[in-house]
C-alpha cells in the first residue's frame, strides 16, 4: 500500500492549491470585471463563478467515478473501487452546490427559485443518480459485492444519463432541430471566463483533496486488521 502515505503527502498540497486558485478566481471575477457591467450585465452574474465551477465538477466527477469503476471492473483492483466511492460523495456535494446556486441565480434572473429549465432538471436527476449509487453501495454489507455492484450501476448510469439529458432538453421531438442550444461559453466576456476557469481549477484541487482524504479513510476502515495499518505512526 504505497498509496496511503503518498496521498497523505499530496493532500496538503492540493488544499493549498485549492485555496489559492479559488481565491484568485473569485478575486478576478469580482474585481476585474467592471467592463462587463457596462455591457448591461447585472451584478448577480457574480454567482456564476461558484455555480459554473460546481456544475462542471458535478459532471466531471461523475466521469471520474465511472472511469475508476470501469478500471476496477476490468482489472479487479480494490483501490479503484475505493476511489470510485470516494469520488461519489464529493460529486454529490458539488451537485448540491450547483443546484442551490442555480436556484439563487434563477431567483435573480428569472424571478423564480425553481424553473424546470433543462439544465437545472438534468442536475436534479444527476443528484438522484449519485444518491442511487451511494444508496446501493451502503445497502450491501459485503465490500466485494458492494464495490462491483455500484460500479456496474455507475456504468449503466453513464449509458442512460446522456439519453435523459436529451429527453429533458427536447421533450418535443417535433421541434428539436430549432431548439438546439449553442454553447454559451463563446459569448462570455474574457475576464469573467478567466474568473470561471480559475475557480473551476480551484474546485478541481478541492475535489482531489477531499477524494484523497476520503479514500484514506476507506482504506483505514477496510484494512484495520492488517499489519501495515497497525505499524502506522498515526496509531502508535
Amino acid at each position: 500500500m504505497n498509496f496511503y502515505p503518498l496521498a497523505g503527502k499530496l493532500i496538503p498540497i492540493f488544499w493549498l492549491a485549492a485555496i489559492v486558485l479559488t481565491a484568485i478566481g473569485l478575486y478576478w471575477g469580482f474585481f476585474k470585471t467592471a467592463d462587463a457591467m457596462d455591457n448591461g450585465m447585472k451584478e448577480y452574474y457574480r454567482i456564476i463563478y461558484v455555480h459554473v465551477a460546481s456544475a462542471w465538477m458535478a459532471m466531471w466527477l461523475y466521469a471520474v467515478m465511472v472511469a475508476w469503476a470501469m478500471i476496477g471492473l476490468i482489472f479487479n483492483t480494490r483501490l479503484s473501487f475505493m476511489m470510485a466511492s470516494a469520488t461519489a460523495i464529493t460529486g454529490t456535494i458539488m451537485t448540491i452546490i450547483a443546484l442551490v446556486t442555480g436556484a439563487i441565480w434563477g431567483k435573480t434572473s428569472w424571478g423564480t427559485w425553481w424553473d424546470w429549465d433543462p439544465k437545472l432538471t438534468t442536475f436534479l436527476i444527476l443528484l438522484f443518480v449519485y444518491i442511487g449509487y451511494i444508496a446501493l453501495q451502503s445497502a450491501i454489507d459485503d465490500t466485494r459485492r458492494s464495490d462491483k455492484a455500484s460500479a456496474l450501476l455507475a456504468l449503466v448510469g453513464l449509458a442512460i444519463v446522456p439519453v435523459i439529458y436529451y429527453a429533458v432538453n427536447c421533450p418535443d421531438p417535433n421541434q428539436c432541430a430549432s431548439l438546439h442550444q449553442e454553447s454559451s461559453l463563446k459569448r462570455v466576456e474574457s475576464n469573467i471566463l478567466i474568473g470561471m476557469l480559475v475557480t473551476t481549477l480551484g474546485f478541481w484541487m478541492y475535489s482531489f483533496a477531499t477524494i484523497l482524504m476520503r479514500a484514506r479513510n476507506i482504506i483505514l476502515e477496510r484494512e484495520r486488521n492488517t499489519s501495515w495499518v497497525s505499524k502506522l505512526n498515526e496509531v502508535n
Binding site: 442511487g132 445497502a139 459485492r145 455492484a149 450501476l153 449503466v156 449509458a159 435523459i164 417535433n174
Partner: protein
C-alpha cells in the same frame, strides 16, 4: 441455446399462472393509482385530458417498479438462480427469457387495460390507440432497465425501496416521450412518429444491453 430460452419462458409463465393473484395485484395497483388522480386533482374534462398522459405513465412506472422484486426473488430464495448461473447455456439468454416472462405478466396487462383508462379520463379513441401503442413500446424498456436494478439489489434488506430509488430516474426518457406522444395525439396536426421512433430506439438499445448487464449484475450478486 434457444431451447433453454423457451423452457425457462414456459416455466416462468406456468409458475405465474399457478399464482394468478400476483398478476392481478399489479394490475389493480395500476388502476387504483389511475383513479386516485381525478379524486385529488379534480375531474373537469379539460383537467383530465391534460393530466392523463403523465398519470398513465407514472402509474405504469410505479406498477412495473413494484413488480420488479418478483423477477428474481423467488428463484434466488430456492436456489434456482444459482443453478442457472452454473448452467452451460449463456446466462444473458436465460435472463432475457425471464425478462420477457416478466413483461408478459406485468407489462402486457397494463397495455390491455389502457382503454379503460381512456374511458376514465374522457380520451378520444385515436388517443387510446396511441396510448396502447406507446405502452406496448415503453413497458418492455421499463422491465429491461428494471431487471438490472433487480439483479443488483438481489437479496438485500429493504430491496424494494432501493430498487425504486435506482430505477425511477433511469425511466425518465420513457416517461417524457411516452407521455409526450399521448399529449401530441390530442393536438391536431402534430406528428407522433418522432416519439414512436425514439421509443423504438430505446427498446432496441435496451434489448441489446440489458440482458448482458443483468447477467453481469446477477454474477456479481451471487458471487
Amino acid at each position: 441455446m434457444m431451447s433453454a430460452f423457451w423452457v425457462l419462458l414456459k416455466r416462468d409463465l406456468l409458475l405465474a399462472l399457478r399464482r394468478r393473484s400476483e398478476i392481478f395485484t399489479v394490475l389493480f395497483f395500476f388502476l387504483i393509482v389511475i383513479s386516485l388522480f381525478p379524486l385529488g386533482v379534480g375531474s373537469e374534462d379539460a383537467t383530465l385530458k391534460k393530466i392523463a398522459p403523465g398519470v398513465v405513465w407514472i402509474a405504469a412506472l410505479l406498477a412495473s417498479t413494484l413488480a420488479l422484486d418478483r423477477l428474481f426473488a423467488n428463484d434466488y430464495l430456492d436456489g434456482t438462480l444459482e443453478q442457472l448461473t452454473l448452467a452451460p447455456q449463456s446466462l444473458s439468454v436465460m435472463v432475457f427469457a425471464k425478462m420477457i416472462a416478466h413483461w408478459l405478466l406485468t407489462g402486457l396487462p397494463l397495455v390491455l387495460i389502457a382503454p379503460l383508462v381512456g374511458l376514465f379520463y374522457h380520451l378520444p379513441s385515436n388517443t387510446i390507440g396511441v396510448m396502447m401503442l406507446v405502452l406496448l413500446l415503453g413497458t418492455p424498456v421499463l422491465s429491461m432497465i428494471g431487471a438490472i436494478a433487480a439483479a443488483l439489489t438481489l437479496g438485500l434488506r429493504g430491496g424494494g425501496v432501493l430498487v425504486s430509488l435506482l430505477v425511477l430516474p433511469l425511466y425518465i426518457p420513457v416517461l417524457v416521450y411516452g407521455a409526450g406522444a399521448i399529449s401530441a395525439s390530442m393536438v391536431e396536426g402534430l406528428s407522433i412518429q418522432p416519439y414512436l421512433l425514439l421509443l423504438s430506439a430505446f427498446m432496441l438499445l435496451a434489448l441489446i444491453f440489458s440482458p448482458w448487464a443483468t447477467a453481469a449484475a446477477l454474477k456479481i450478486s451471487l458471487e
